[in-house]
Amino acid sequence: MRTKKIKRIRFGLLSPKEIREMSASRIITPDTYGEDGFPIERGLVNQHIGVIDPGLRCKTCGGRMDECPGHFGRIDLEAAVIHIGYAKLIYKILMATCRKCGKVILGEEDRKKFLEDIAEYRDRQEDISDIVKLVFKEAAKKDVCMYCNELQQRIKYDKPTTYIEIDEEKRERRLMPTDVRERLERIPDEDIALFGMDAKNARPEWMVITVLPVPPVTARPSITLETGQRSEDDLTHKLVDIIRINQRFMENRDAGAPQLIIEDLWELLQYHVNTYFDNDIRGVPAARHRSGRPLKTISHRLKGKEGRFRGSLSGKRVNFSARTVISPDPDIDIDEVGVPEAIAKELTITVKVNERNLTMLQELVKHGKNYPGVNYVRRSDGRKIKVTASNYETLAEELEIGWKVERHIRDGDIVLFNRQPSLHRLSIMAHYVRIMPGKTFRINPTVCPPYNADFDGDEMNMHVLQTEEARAEARMLMAVARNIISPRFGKPIIGSLHDYITGIFLLTRGEKKIEKEITLDILYKIDVDGLAAPAGTFDHTSTPYWTGKQIFSMILPAGLNLEFPGKTCARCITVGAKCEKENCPRDAYVMIKDGELLCGIIDEVALGSFKGVIIERIFRRYGEEVTKVFIKNAARLAINYIKQAGFSFGISDEDIPIEGKEEIRIEAIREAEKKVEALIRAYEGGELEPLPGRTVDETLELLIMQELGRARDDSGDIAEKYLGIENSGVLMAKSGARGSLLNLTQMAACVGQQSVRGERIKRGYQGRTLPHFKPGDRSADARGFIRASFKDGLSPSEYFFHAVGGREALVDTAVRTSQSGYFQRRLINALQDLEVKDDGTVRDTRGIIVQFKYGDDGIDPSKGEFGKVVDIDEVINEAINR
């Protein structure tokens, strides 16, 4: 096939002449089918404009149902009407042109300049709309035509399609569409260019419709209901209305009916043509079906997400894809996807038969449609044969080189995997297929972060790649292992999460002594080069033991050197103290030498997604394969250990002993409330000193908020003290596995102040939040402070305040997602055609430079180290340590 390049696309208006020429039938009757069940001649579904009934032939091209694409017809309107899509433009043009001579009311000089500007911008392929806007603005300003001295009159535009001229004495005269058309006809061709239009392709008077094109029947097919009754398309209904009114207009006019009646009918015709194009015009009642349902007319077919542009052109449904619920499987690789057999049997890859795969493919064909089999076979002559229970044996026999076979996907095939909303490029990555029982897609939970997936019912899509080029591209660019480092922030986006972090945290914390059998259990299914020498022997039994840190070291690549403070680091430096590094009393300083974890607890900072210091280092030093294996091993190690150690979190883990509760109640909350009362007393006594730049009221609120904030923090500290470091919740928060200390505080100690727009709750009744309080009460209780914990349970008024505060959070997220979705669309539309050229520049499709160097530094954030190609310090460190 020869490829052709589109040089340009020309847009224009259909002229009445063109409409007549392309019309295969002048339609005059509003009826569709006759008594005999055949389409009526000259009717809306007549056989000249296409056929939708099997057996009939098109009277224009002779084609049968599926051969004839359909042909346009036309309705000759008895009265011209405004095209609703151009109503606004018509108004602008009327305002800018002389009512008598039709010229654009601009002096020769201006005219010339504008025309030159437009030509120049056109040349540069830039947007001319600003110039055109200026033309309309300047021309509309003039009161007198400089060419014929005609005094101009003001025109009022009455939405949607009425124009009224107002003379000097403020008398109003309606401009009927025919008047409008006459005026537009008078505009000379040379002036049309000033509107950014091309007189050859778009004369302005064509915006007033005299001949209405009727789309082919194939574009508005009727459907046959179960009752055998025909139900016409909404567009056909609308066209029926137009023809009826058109008919009535003609009859009334010919009979010499009074002007008033004629004008009413004219208006009605305009209404029907308007709603035919657009049925949700503001201020106009929508045309409705007999059932009361608004009719779906032309604009509905084009507009919006499901419309022709966004729904059928920019995006459409595709073949070779599947969608189902996802569920976790920590036993598959991070770059694999578990595919149900039922899906694998539907999705195929086309393979050309050659001497090397002939036997293998014959074997597949022999399976027929049973997995792993073949759905279709295509012979050398191009004929496609469906594999069935009756023909698979002969097909396998006949199979020869040059044929093509559509085989089921199988283990190791590469596919694209996607979760919406696809907000960044990591939302679509290439995975390797692994056929599994069940009905869900399975993924390793460590790849959840890039997709932002969880397993509460999320569904994902899979696309099977069909060409070798596509597969190569996916393997080289989109494979999960190649996208461990995010191009957005240059850190790993794939890494351990939740229980994996807890597990590794527990394993590497302290000097755990683990006997051989358990050590082997923990290392189950992990590929390590033999067991390291034991760290020592138990005193009483003199059997060997291994430490948790040692076991973790076994999955670290040899030669890895790394030092960093972990998540539990107290940041001693920030308070002026020295970091004790390997002697850190909390064991928060991680030190890895030659692949050996010497000290420090492994936590979220080391392995987590978005942080993953160790993962990042391994990726940069050892590459994607080693990293992939490491991430999987770390996850498996963690699960194996946490299964050994046992880990749970339940409601009783939020229990605090009675003395702890008393401490919270008295020392944190009562204390704060006393201070708040004191503040209020000072305020009421006029003794409160305002803070700089604030009123007394603001000061009071601020101080109270501070005090109550502290109350919650204090109760959190007390709760933490009583829960202890061994508490599951505390463990998860400290290791970064899940949840925060604030979450725990709210569950176990005190929920704290509820707020709306950053302030204490003050809305509701006049001067009070609820009728339970006295007007003007500013106490903690009356303004949304919740002293209870979730575990204790909230009082009715507390519960109410919590709902008030919660509502804001809910509304915020709803608004944010819709706004960011729209923003995303706009960014994509603006940036999608930019390209990094091989000279390092970023250019658009016109070759105009956007950046002289990609990102000003020319570095891919996922490859470089903070703007540099390499981290020199690290290279030196590495060399010294070797």
């Binding site: 250019r843 430079i849 002289f852 160097k853 000003d856």
Partner: protein, 83 residues
Amino acid sequence: MMQRKDTKDTILEHVLVPEHEIAEEAAVVELLKRYKIEKEQLPKIKSTDPVIKEIKAKVGDVVRIKRSSRTAGECLFYRLVIA
């Protein structure tokens, strides 16, 4: 209108305004050659832009902008002044 030429109180001094200067003819020729482009393919800046007015660049001039970047240190950028 009051002119405050004597002071350095111009927007050019502001921390957020990178250094702009009119590029010499030779530099422009070199630039266009280096990227194999026409002048029209350069990024644009309006002649009404406050900085352009300040440095008195005319339509058709190319301005050189020295921007400091967190990752790239200093970065040179060029813009064609348009009407």
